[in-house]
Symmetry: C2
Subunit: 231 residues, 2 copies
């Protein structure tokens, strides 16, 4: 091919979902510029995971940006609030949990949009999903569509006729669906990190919502869980 | 009054417009929490101005958040590109200038939204205006309305029935209108900073678009210009 592949900006947290979204973007032929936000998250272990995933999946670039959302707090991931443990699926489905970080995906997509516009990309990938998600409002299709509309109003590139697309390839997938898709695309989930409260060695707690959803996902997918648990 | 005034988050740059927006928010009875973003802007002198303005106008709080957009660049304010000088109004009106910072107001409103949600506020003030603006797409009414819609989809507070409002009280005002309004509300514009390329002492260049719009605004308003120019 003479011309360079189309560029995409991929929001990469280091978790299971965004790793799969990156693999989809690669499958679809994009040259992927990954963006990871160090936002003062409790589980900073995911930042190292993002670097491993970007390398393993052949990202063209990987940037980490610092933005300390502990300045605002308001979440168990950015303030000194306990992370819920051992909740049932029914309990998780009952409401938006304290691990919700106010406006996080709005902030992340805004930063991805800035990055995309600077490098002449119109394609942004985000690994949100609305089925097996944790009840977060900014993981829903209507949010993603609304942001896409905003992006085309907000930017020079949009006003000049370009069309930004926010790709959310996992939006309607369950966790086992996502894992099967990722495995089919060669994702090594042993490189990813999901736990909200890993121990100092980075081992997963096995009890937070994120661990429980991940573990149940591997079980339902019939895929061996590569996660190293602390307990 | 027994109950505390309603809280608003006010995006405060240290410039003329956002100082006026803060004065309007105060006039309307809000307890104002100002948010200033240190984004690696060339004219960091505006950060000190934001502090002065917040104090002078009785803000209940003033926070500065660090987010280095020089990581992306793509603007004369965040990269090593020359700031246009001595342009006529016709030249300024001809297109979006190189001082446009990709997705800046999307990022700033997203951060204001996070702050608002954490403190239980539903009111965000931003000093954008679409008439005497510099051609920036994210200073238009349709952008502001789109962000407001997004805010209500993106957040726990929005999903639970709250309604965020993005107030842009200057949206249809010209620069002289804004200055007259601010003067009527007691804004001391001598505290504000507009120049994109101040000298090391913080004096305005008098030649960048921001200086030219500001100077012409004072002239047209018939208000003495308190700005200290370098030349």
């Amino acid at each position: 091919m003479a011309s360079e592949a189309r560029r995409a900006v991929v929001l990469l947290s280091g978790g299971l979902d965004s790793a799969t979204a990156l693999a989809v973007a690669r499958r679809d032929g994009f040259a992927c510029r990954c963006l990871t936000i160090a936002y003062g998250q409790r589980h900073a272990a995911e930042l190292a995971a993002a670097g491993r995933v970007a390398r393993a999946l052949g990202a063209a670039e990987h940037r980490q940006l610092h933005l300390d959302l502990r300045a605002f707090g308001g979440s168990a991931l950015t303030a000194d609030l306990p992370v819920p443990e051992g909740r049932s699926e029914a309990e998780m489905a009952a409401g938006i949990p304290v691990t919700y970080v106010p406006a996080r995906n709005t902030i992340f997509l805004a930063l991805a949009l800035a990055y995309a516009e600077v490098i002449g990309s119109f394609d942004i990938f985000i690994g949100v999903n609305q089925l097996d998600y944790s009840g977060y409002p900014d993981c829903r299709r209507e949010f993603v569509r609304a942001f896409e509309g905003l992006a085309n109003l907000a930017t020079k590139a949009g006003v000049e006729g370009g069309r930004f697309r926010v790709h959310a390839p996992l939006i309607d997938l369950t966790k086992p669906d996502i894992i099967r898709l990722g495995v089919s695309l060669g994702v090594d989930y042993g490189l990813t990190h999901s736990c909200y409260q890993p121990n100092p060695e980075g081992l997963a707690c096995g009890r937070c919502d994120s661990c429980l959803l991940r573990r149940a996902g591997f079980e339902a997918a019939g895929v061996p869980d590569p996660t190293r648990y602390a307990g």
